[in-house]
Structure formats: C-alpha cells, structure tokens
Amino acid sequence: MAVGAGSIELAGVVKSFDGFVNAVDGVNITIPDKAYCCLLGPSGCGKTTILRMIAGHDDPTAGEILIGGENVVGLAPVARRTAMMFQSYALFPHLNVRDNIAFSLRVRGMSKAERHKAADAMMEKVRLAEFADRLPAQLSGGQQQRVALARAAITEPRVLLLDEPLSALDEFLRIQMRQELRSMQRDLGITFVHVTHTQLEAIALADLVVVMEKGKIRQAGAARDVYDSPKDRYVAEFLGGQNVLMGKVRTVNGQHAEVTGLTGSGFKVPLTPGVNVETGDPIAIAVRRDDIELTSPGGSPPANTVAVSGKVKAVEYQGYFVKVMLNAGGSEDFVAYVSERKFFNNPVTIGDSVLASWPVDHARILAHDH
C-alpha cells in the first residue's frame, strides 16, 4: 500500500540522553499523511524529544523513524522535508518579517527578487503583508507566531512540527490562534505534529491524540475515543472529565461485573471488551463527570442507574456548568459537572449530603496500569 508523503511511522524508538534514563522508551506509532496529530502529556513525558527526533534535531538511540516510507534517521532536517516551529518562535531578531520568511530560500541560493516575491505571497496568505518591514521585536505574540508559521511553511515541507506553539500566548489569544493553526493545516494539506500539555487544546485540534507518560505512549486515537473511552487510569485522569473509582470485583455476571467500592457500597459495571476481570481483582472504573446526576439522599435515583453517596466539599462556578466536588470515600475527589441551569434549580452547598448517580452502562472498566 502506498504511504502518503507525509505519513510518519515510529518503530521501537528509544532515546536516552545520559545512558541511564530513557526519555523516550520504546515508542511505536503511525501518523497518517495529512493528519493533525497532537502529542499530549505532562512536562518530561518525552513528547518534545519525539518531535525533535522527527525533525532531525536529535537522533534516536535505537529504533527507526520513517517519513513517507523512508527511514530518515541520520538525515538533516532539510533533507527530510520537515519544518519545525519552535516554542519561542526563534525569529531572527536582526531580520525583518520578509527576510525572516525568506531565510530558507536565501540559504538555497535563490535570488533576492525571487525570494522576496515568494515571501510576499506567503505573507499575503497569513495576513502579515503590512508588517513586512517590521522587526520581530515590533510584533505582538500572535503576529510573531504567524511569522514563524510562514517561515516554516514556505519550504513546502511534508510535515510541520510545532513545539507548544500556543504556550506563549495568553488564554484569549490561545483559543483564537487554535483555529488559525487548524485552518492553516487544511490549507497546506500536510501532516502537522503538535506538542502540547493542554488537554482541551489537543482534543480541539487533533485528528489523532497521542497521550504520553514517562517516555511511553499510553493511548493513541481519535480525540473522542481518548476522552470518552480512556484505556487506563492515567489517561482517564490526565484527560480530565472522568472520575476514577477504585474497587474490588465481587462477581462477574454475563456482561457486567458486581463491584464493591471502597466505602463498601456496591454497584454494577459493564465489562470492557479486551479487559479481563475475575472475582477478587482490584479494579478501576471511569465515570464521566457530566454523566453524574445529583439527588438528595432518600430520594429515589432514576432507573437503571448506579449511585454512591457523598458529601459536598466544594462548588465551583464555571459558566455553563457548575463543578461540584464530593467526598465519596475515596482518596480523590468525586466530581460532578452539573449543567448550570439544572444546578440553580436545585442548588447544593458545602456540607450537604447527596446521592451521585450515573447510568449503569456509562461507566467503564479501565485496563490495569503497568
């Protein structure tokens, strides 16, 4: 099967900087051509190292990296037809916008007239034409980012690598610039690999979300899959939006398992295909926070639901929903996202005892952590 020019495959990639600890610990992943892929994880998980290895700024200690089907390990960045956008943008402070963008053409020996023409065309595309003669220090953060993007894109790479491109911007700009990146990617029609530690950013932008921890990939898949069906406890907790309950399996009946929670309360959970559980196993269960409904104790929870009781610890107003944190016996908070109007129809305050219920089939058994 022909591979797209911009498809990326990492096979058994390992990177160690000091010979002791593996910053990247055996990574296998295929990123399809023309996909928007986000590498998501906390600081130190290896996502930036992987990005730099794809770019050609670092080489793997072991393993292969294929772009468009060919092994690129050992090739210079320019030979890989990749381009990187740095976290600090790394715009040359002594060159104006036009010369920054035209830099790659200059090192290839293009004549001044020609490369200025090409740079002007690129500046039109990113709406920077009026800033052509400005120096980077005279631009705002958002403008600098567009220059960095244009400078990378003018080389017509097959893969564009972005190292936390939105971290330097404030919240409001970040959300605005997100869509610029997405539309740029569609326009250029190439693969984007975007490193970030912000969950919401990753799921907003990516076709493929790769969740990483300590040098390993924990889960890779479409945004919805990763958010709604996290494979293990780490992914569930990192993506947010899920409560993780611990318990022990009491019995297994057909499609469900009967579980005893930590507080002794029991509830039913559907079995997850591919995850084997037996009686007596310790188990972790994920329940989406927005699936939780709060009712007063003594009232009857809706049919086909499972419930735990808890005490309200904190209430946070978040605009269109209210975050209610409960103490339900576990070590971590049990959180319910209640839609705003619903909450204020029946508000609760700190100290109230409530019954938190969710539809039985909306919970998931998580795979065991290694």
Partner: protein
C-alpha cells in the same frame, strides 16, 4: 483553619524596635540614603573627570603657559609645538604606530575572541587549562611578561618590533577581556536561533555568517572597543617588546619622566580625543543596533 495549621511554636509579637526600623513605603520622594549616595556618586564622577579636565584646559595656554594654574592665555600653541618640535619627541611617528598597532590588535582580538568564545559554549577536554591560562595572562604583571618576551626574543636571536612582538604582547592583555565579553554575550545567545537556521536548511557556515554574527554584532563591537582602547593605551607589556620605535604610550612615558612644558598636556588632550571618538563610535553603534531590535509593542 484546623488547629494543626496554627503554629506549633508561639510567634512573638512584632516588637517596637523592629517596626521602627522596618521600611515603610512612601508616597513620593526619595529616602535620605538616596541623597547621601547621589552626593557620593557626584563627587566620584567629579574626581574622576576633574583632573583630566584640568589638563585639557591647561593645554590651551599660549606660549607663556606653565604646568599649573592660573591659566595663561588661550591658544593652540602647544598643539603645534607638539607636532613640530623635535625636542618633544617623535609624537607624530609614535601616534601613527599606535593607531596602526591598535587597528591590527583590534581585528585580531575580535576574530580570536569570537572563535574562543564559540569553543567555550560547550565543555571540552582541557577547557579548564585554557580558561586559567587566560585568567593568568590577565592578572600577570605586565612588566614581568614584557621582560620574559624580551628574553625569549634574545634567546632566539630575533629583534622585537612594534609590528611583530608587540602585537602578541598586547594580545595577551586584550584577548582575556575579549573572550570574557564573548562569554557574557554568547550565554545570552538563544540556541533556538541556530537550530531554526539549521532546520531551514542553512549549513554551519551559513548559520554563522547569516545568523550568529549579525545577532552578536553588538558584542563584537564591544570586543572591538576593548581591543582598540586596551591596545592604544597599553604600556607595560609593550615596553620591552616594541623594539626601537615607540608607541604613543611609551613616548608619553619618556616625556613624563621630565615634564617641562604643557606640550605634554596637549598630547594628553589629543590622545584622549582619539579615545573618545572611538568610544563614541562604538557605543553609538551598539546603542543603535539594540534600539532597533528591542522596541516593544503592546499585544494586539
């Protein structure tokens, strides 16, 4: 707050003495220390420039002029005297030699300091040796080195001259300064710029030529400033290595040993003007480069 959160140890109440000495914010104006220190500062600057200014003023006396105040007349007599009279020494020749020597030393210092600073960005085997040799060269008494070089030349059987051995002797003084400036400048050089250039396809040489050197330009100008002025005013190390023809500081030195007329003051004025011009050019260049690159615009 739970009981455990309160201190295990009783915190003593704040004493009056502490409150008396604590510094309270003030609505406007400056603390008394500001006035004391600015007086100190002004006195220091006056003491710094004062004596020099006396010399400059006195050099404009006319033919009746003496070595001290009060000033007698106003003319350029002594400047003319300086450049024409043979008895005041070979001012014109030594001045030319000093300028040429300083120019050579400046170029050499900039290039060598840049290379050395570039090497020191990463650790390499023996870098401690090089570093301490450099510091040693900086701290060593100039006359001792001068004598040593003289002896070396004596043993080899070669004559020293201002355009050969003096260059090396002066470089042993200017290079440590230049390299230290380069250290400071390069530590602020963001490697991301290099990587970006590499990413965009530049070769190592292209990166140095198109990115590193232009960005480091203010630092290079600073090194050039050090190189020129340190060479132009250098005395001890040049003393035994300049050969038979003097540089300007050596010439001044022989004149200092028997000061008889304000022509020496005139020389002082002239040589200081040269120094000031060079300083102004270099600082101006640095300031204009920095100004262009550092303008901040509010985020839009």
């Amino acid at each position: 707050m739970s009981a455990a959160a309160r201190s295990a140890v009783a915190v003593p109440p704040v004493s009056k003495a502490v409150v008396a000495h604590a510094i309270a914010p003030r609505a406007e104006g400056r603390p008394w220390t500001f006035y004391v220190l600015s007086t100190v500062f002004v006195l220091y600057v006056l003491a710094l420039y004062g004596p020099m200014i006396c010399i400059y003023v006195l050099s404009f006396q006319d033919v009746r002029g003496g070595l001290v105040f009060p000033m007698k007349g106003l003319s350029l007599h002594w400047f003319v005297d300086l450049f024409t009279q043979v008895r005041t020494g070979d001012v014109k020749g030594s001045f030319e030699r000093s300028i040429k020597l300083a120019a050579i030393v400046t170029v050499a210092t900039v290039i060598m300091s840049f290379l050395a600073g570039w090497a020191f960005r990463r650790r390499f085997v023996g870098d401690g040796v090089v570093f301490y040799l450099m510091i040693g060269s900086l701290v060593a008494p100039g006359l001792v080195l001068s004598i040593g070089v003289g002896l070396v030349l004596h043993f080899i059987g070669v004559e020293g001259a201002w355009y050969t051995s003096a260059i090396g002797a002066q470089l042993s003084w200017t290079l440590p300064f230049g390299v230290l400036v380069m250290f400071a400048v390069m530590s602020r050089f963001d490697r991301a710029w290099e990587e970006a250039a590499y990413d965009l396809g530049a070769t190592r040489w292209q990166t140095i030529r198109l990115v590193v050197i232009p960005i480091l330009a203010p630092g290079l100008v600073a090194v050039a400033l050090f190189g020129f002025t340190l060479s132009y005013d250098e005395f001890a190390r040049t003393l035994q290595t300049a050969g038979s023809l003097n540089t300007l500081p050596l010439e001044i030195w022989t004149m200092t040993l028997n000061i008889t007329s304000p022509s020496l003051y005139a020389l002082g004025t002239v040589t200081t003007i040269v120094s000031f011009v060079i300083i102004a050019i270099c600082l101006g260049a640095i300031a204009s480069i920095q100004k262009r690159r550092a303008v901040r615009v509010p985020a839009t």
